[in-house]
């Protein structure tokens, strides 16, 4: 008996039995169905919009906003100085990328050659800093007013989202690290306290916590006259939180520059120490000299040129506080609740990350003679990081997405501004689509970065 051949003349049934052809038939059918569905939705929408006489398109972005925003950040305009700066940064990154490719092809890395490291430093930090120094005055920023366009309003919302997410991520990581480590504490009471916090906060919706912080806590705070003061540094009342703001003095640039130079020096000293230890096993001191250098250089500059930053404190004038760094109640509530909520999740990630490093690793390190701090720094944390970083990133993304809840308390972030634009312009589809695209761009770029990092950090199996 001869086996049936695949390439026999095909009738319709044979085509149906051919798995490759069948797969294509399925896919064409799916595409057709999806296309038909999309077409129907599009037609319906067009008809509905025509009936309502609504304009469509993105022209509305140029219209005058004519609504006030409580929380304004200056929006940098893409012209002059900013373009130069961006070009310098992108060109630097591109050149470094080319360099690393070139080194890789030669079977080496950038880190192996000190001259190349210096070149990379100059490209990544030196050139942009120089550009900023020379063209800094030409960076123009719009301070939003009601006369600006919807587009500018949306940019302000975007910046507010970034602001609260960025600060929230940093604070939540710190608090989460603290909580996660205390949950593993050998002190029973500390461990239980941390666990109680985590279990309470994780199991209550963020929105409830946000309302609680905003309405139940911040609104019951005293009037500005009877503010809560923490050593006159932080002032809290029902108008918001006031912190001292650093005002740069004449020599602030020099001060920052000297710190940057010292840090660069410390980086090279660390390379030297590491290379020496790899070559000869001799351990040179690193930590104390670095701290000493940092303190000495900054102290010297401070002494010679005077204080680089003057702290400006908020003062009560009339019925309100003036000056200093003012954080609105909405921003404060948003930041507090995002931090407290996300920290509980980060604590669990930290705990499971540390627990994922097997006990044998610690014992092996100890039997090799490493001290407690060294064990944690050289053995436990690098391995825990590999487990922790992917879920940590997804928590940061969650925090950013959760910042959209600010719309419920009137914090001027992207969704809130979009909502106002929808109400005012009468257009719904475009603002919502734009908001989704903004979040999507952010999420996808972070997760692409994450995949790249994961591929780099993956255990290289030999």
């Amino acid at each position: 008996m001869t086996p049936p051949r695949r390439d026999q003349p095909q009738s319709l049934i044979a085509l149906w039995r051919n798995p490759v052809a069948r797969a294509w038939i399925y896919q064409i059918a799916i595409l057709l169905a999806v296309g038909l569905g999309a077409h129907t939705l599009f037609q319906n929408t067009r008809r509905n919009l025509e009936e309502k006489d609504t304009v469509s398109g993105f022209a509305y972005l140029a219209n005058e906003a004519s609504f006030g925003i409580g929380e304004i950040l200056p929006v940098p305009v893409l012209e002059g100085g900013l373009i130069h700066l961006l070009i310098a940064i992108v060109a630097g990154l591109f050149l470094v990328f080319l360099l690393s490719r070139w080194q890789k092809r030669r079977g080496s890395t950038i880190g192996a050659d000190t001259r190349l490291v210096i070149v990379v430093f100059i490209l990544l930090f030196g050139v942009p800093l120089a550009v900023l120094f020379y063209s800094g005055d030409t960076i123009r920023a719009i301070h939003y007013t009601e006369a600006n366009s919807y587009g500018v309003a949306l940019m302000v919302g975007l910046l507010n989202t970034f602001k609260v997410s960025l600060i929230g991520c940093v604070l939540a990581t710190l608090l989460g690290l603290f909580l996660g480590i205390s949950r593993l504490s050998s002190n029973w009471l500390v461990a239980k306290l941390s666990e109680t916090y985590i279990e309470i906060v994780r199991n209550i919706p963020l929105l409830v916590q946000l309302f609680f912080v905003y309405i139940a806590v911040l609104r019951t705070l005293p009037q500005p006259e009877n503010s809560l003061r923490f050593f006159d540094v932080a002032i809290l009342n029902n108008r918001g939180l006031y912190l001292p703001s650093p005002i740069p003095q004449d020599f602030a640039n020099l001060f920052m520059l000297s710190i940057a130079a010292t840090l660069t020096g410390i980086y090279f000293w660390r390379r030297h120490v590491k290379q020496r230890q790899d070559r000869t096993g001799e351990q040179l001191p690193f930590f104390l000299p670095s701290v000493a250098a940092l303190v000495a250089v900054s102290g010297l500059v401070w002494l010679i040129f005077g204080t680089p930053f003057q702290l400006e404190y908020a003062e009560l004038r009339g019925f309100n506080f003036v000056g200093g760094l003012e954080l609105s109640p909405e921003f404060t509530a948003m930041l507090i609740s995002l931090t407290l909520y996300t920290a509980a999740f980060i604590a669990e990630i930290v705990r499971s990350g540390i627990q994922a490093v097997s006990k044998g690793q610690r014992e092996a390190a100890q039997s090799l003679g490493l001290r407690g701090g060294q064990t944690l720094r050289l053995i436990v944390l690098p391995q825990a990081m590999r487990v922790m970083i992917p879920p940590l990133t997804s928590q940061f993304l969650n925090l950013t997405k959760n910042s959209s809840l600010g719309t419920a308390i009137g914090f001027a972030e992207v969704v809130n501004i979009s909502g106002t634009i929808i109400n005012q312009s009468g257009q719904a589809i475009e603002p919502i689509a734009l908001t989704m695209v903004i979040y999507l761009t952010f999420s996808l770029s972070i997760s692409m970065l994450m995949n790249w990092y994961n591929a780099k950090m993956r255990l290289v199996e030999r």
């Binding site: 896919q27 029973w188 009471l189 809840l405 919502i432 999507l440």
Partner: protein, 368 residues
């Protein structure tokens, strides 16, 4: 000997550990006052606990007011529980007609019984039990909604609210989103590039945006998508939004399960001559679905918490009720009590489910 226990029974004649190694005193010394740092931490924690507990205790119990009517709360320093005493049923069933309230309570009882039955391993292994769970969302929905077919008076969805609405949204969107999620997960692992691309695009798109934008989309744009004349009410719109959102997350949960299944299972099914549908339905899905129960419970907790967002688009769910009840001029400004009450209800549900999920996880871990 039953042959099962490998651990020998403790020998009563064996010498007991010395007195200095056991007892409460030793435990306290070892776990709380091991060295100066531990002692410091313990004292700090005790101080912190005292501060927090004293504030909560005096607010919620000592200075609290219990009674009837808004009058009793005048000048109260602590919580006004009279507000909760009068309003609690609004928080539970919303504005649902008084004489029909047995229906949501029955629906709730059905859910509780189903959950309780899930705890019993023998019931869980009985295959039609999954069918019961699959039917539960529909039963709950139609019991609460009513209609002529069921010979129950129709209750308009504008009267739905409180915890009932929260649970309906969570349960129904889980029930509808899960099959959708399974399909999406299978599509994502498919060998057909077009199908895979569409599924990946959908999942990544939905997971990349916040739920509130999806809710805006469904509440504002859905009416525009539909042909003229078809009008769907606010709750159904929110339900569609949450379901589409949940499906993407559930798809990832199922995909995790699919990846965890050894490929030998599929090979074995093929070797037995099963075609791909048979393999999927009889071999792969039953195992995967059992494996994903713990992450499924976690996703459901997230979903339950996320339903609170519908209060932003104006639905009176459990959280929306807090704002609605305190808008009553008699009870103006009783927001703290309302939020605490709401938070406690959410917490009880989420915490008990997370415990259950943990229990299942531990159980399955020892099984391997």
């Amino acid at each position: 000997m039953n042959g099962r226990s490998s651990v020998p029974a403790p020998d009563s004649s064996a010498p007991r550990p010395p007195k200095s190694q056991i007892g409460a005193q030793v435990w306290v010394r070892k776990n709380l006052f091991g060295n100066w740092f531990d002692t410091l931490l313990t004292l700090l924690s005790l101080w912190l606990i005292y501060q927090i507990v004293s504030v909560i205790f005096s607010w919620a119990i000592i200075d609290a007011v219990v009674g009837e009517g808004p009058k009793v709360c005048e000048g109260a320093k602590g919580a006004c529980w009279a507000f909760i005493q009068e309003m609690w049923e609004l928080f539970i069933v919303g504005l649902y007609p008084f004489e029909e309230r047995y229906r949501p309570y029955t629906a709730f009882l059905i859910l509780v019984l189903l959950c309780a039955a899930t705890f019993v391993a023998r019931v869980r292994r009985w295959p039609p039990f999954y069918l019961l769970w699959a039917l539960a969302p529909f039963a709950v929905f139609f019991l609460i909604r009513g209609g002529t077919a069921l010979n129950l008076p129709l209750v308009d969805t504008s009267l739905w609210g409180g915890l009932m609405l929260t649970l309906v949204l969570a349960v129904v969107s889980l029930g509808l989103g899960f099959p959708l999620g399974i399909l999406l997960a299978l599509g994502r692992r498919s060998r057909m590039p077009v199908l895979r691309g569409l599924c990946v695009a959908y999942i990544e798109l939905v997971r990349g945006v916040p739920l509130i934008t999806v809710l805006f989309l469904s509440s504002v744009m859905l009416p525009l998508f539909l042909p003229a004349g078809i009008d769907i009410d606010k709750i159904l719109r929110a339900l569609i939004g949450i379901t589409l959102f949940a499906a993407a997350y559930l798809a990832e949960v199922v995909r995790g399960g699919l990846q965890g299944l050894p490929s030998g299972q599929e090979d074995a099914a093929k070797a037995l001559g099963m075609n791909s549908w048979q393999t999927m339905v009889f071999i792969i899905l039953p195992q995967v679905l059992r494996m994903v129960i713990p992450p499924l419970v976690s996703t459901f907790i997230g979903l339950l918490k996320d339903t609170s967002l519908v209060s932003i688009i104006g639905l009176l769910d459990l959280l929306g009720m807090a704002a609605a009840t305190t808008a009553n001029p008699d009870w103006l400004g009783r927001l703290v009590e309302a939020y605490v009450f709401v938070a406690v209800i959410y917490w009880v549900f989420c915490y008990s489910m997370s415990r259950y999920s943990l229990f299942l996880e531990r159980k399955y871990k020892t099984g391997h």
